[in-house]
Symmetry: C2
Subunit: 274 residues, 2 copies
């Protein structure tokens, strides 16, 4: 029985299995939408990954990830842009709905977050013609402000949408509830994103209390404090009806359980908590 | 030799010493402005703390802290309001420049952050007449979004200023660089706060990369990525010329060093990095 509207970001079971086995487990549970990471694709080979995707009629709700644009010097920034162009090609080859972009943080010892933010806009602008030509939408994923220094200096949905407005067609946003749930302006910005037709992906998990690790202690839907149903309703009201993509980094819990159990739990929680 | 413009929040050496000893160390280093916590005051007694403050001509840049308004039921919320009124009285007795308010997070298991935010506004509104009568300004301190669930659902300077506008005179903001440095709208909101004459306190420390603990791994000024001088310039341009108040929670580093060394380092970094 197919599970409509649910996608599994393969990072959710990255410690347990590679691309092919992850796909098998998703299919077993009736899930036909996934979002792989580039290293998972590279491990099996882009050609073989594409073959598996097409053979099974899989939908790719995104490829993770491009981005990480800021660098201390021009050659570092150019290198990042080149890598993003390759990521676009991989997304095109796999037929992914979008390439997810994690902006990158402050380059080597910098305290100038405004400069880092300019590097992000310039980097996306440089990749954009190639992405448009390849037909791959770029999805800027605002990350939680606790990652501003080391992972992403795009930290609110409003900021990401400002960048979309600056750059024009071909750029949108990935809305991950983990990163944006706290934002007092969230409802307004989701509505704005809808008007801009900029919503490309909707990622789900939960915020645990307490959160024991800033990176790898995300919760399964229903185990935390995020109003998942409320945010989903707002995203749907804004006109996005794509799959909800489960992305859980959980070093001490879900990554230690059998992948089959993790995916079964995703399905159950998706049905009851999202 | 007096160190002008520097205040020490006594949480910075809370593991090493109590109120009286902390004051002695500050005075030894030429610091005549402090911000104590209520538990530190209670430990020595409000009367004795006030005597020490007056005998030494100390300036109190704030009393930490009131707030924590959301609760699952009305009696819990009323209890919080009563406690805040007592905190106002203590701030008045000590002659503190303001009572710092940490809003509080989601009450017991709630996923409704909008409701929690309404409880915060209602709680401050209920305390405000008493605070105005006592001449104690209430300083809403927006906390970093990583504390939205369990400590404070007021998470941006803009949100705090919205509350100030709603409630009118007697309410302002405490700007702690640790909580707001990442905000893409920070410059605008500092300027707005200046126009509102709402800036009541300016707290400093630094954001370490990596940050190993979400609560107790704050850095000494200069050891992290925050543009302290840039933010100070904006706050001064907005018309606030009060002391910069050092507030560092550091379980594995500064709380383990001799208080004298910590305060000497605060002075040196204040002179060179702020």
């Amino acid at each position: 029985m197919q599970v409509e509207g649910l996608s599994i970001n393969l990072a959710t079971i990255r410690e347990q299995c590679g691309f092919a086995e992850a796909v098998d487990i998703c299919l077993k549970h009736g899930i036909t939408a996934i979002a792989p990471w580039r290293d998972q694709v590279a491990a099996i080979g882009l050609g073989e990954a594409g073959r598996i995707v097409r053979a099974n009629g899989l939908k790719l709700t995104g490829l993770c990830r491009g981005g990480f644009f800021p660098a201390p010097d021009a050659s570092g920034r150019e290198k990042a842009i080149d890598d993003n162009r390759r990521a676009v090609d991989e997304a095109a080859e796999l037929g992914a709905d979008c390439l997810v972009l994690v902006a990158g943080g402050l380059p080597g010892g910098s305290k100038n977050i405004d400069a880092a933010r300019r590097m992000v806009v310039e980097g996306i602008a440089a990749v954009l013609p190639h992405a448009r030509a390849a037909g791959v939408p770029l999805a800027i994923e605002p990350l939680h402000p606790m990652y501003a220094a080391d992972r992403a200096c795009v930290n609110t949905l409003g900021q990401a949408l400002d960048i979309c407005e600056t750059l024009g067609p071909g750029v949108g946003v990935a809305i991950d509830v983990y990163h944006v749930w706290w934002d007092p302006d969230l409802a307004n910005q989701i509505a704005r994103a809808g008007k801009m037709k900029a919503i490309l992906a909707h990622h789900i998990c939960d915020w645990l209390v307490p959160t024991k690790d800033m990176l790898t202690d995300r919760g399964m839907m229903g185990d935390g404090v995020i109003d998942l149903k409320g945010i989903r309703r707002r995203i749907e009201a804004a006109g996005f009806h794509g799959a909800q993509e489960v992305e859980i980094f959980s070093a001490d819990n879900w990554w230690k359980r059998p992948a089959d159990e993790v995916i079964a739990t995703c399905v159950e929680r998706y049905r009851n908590c999202c």
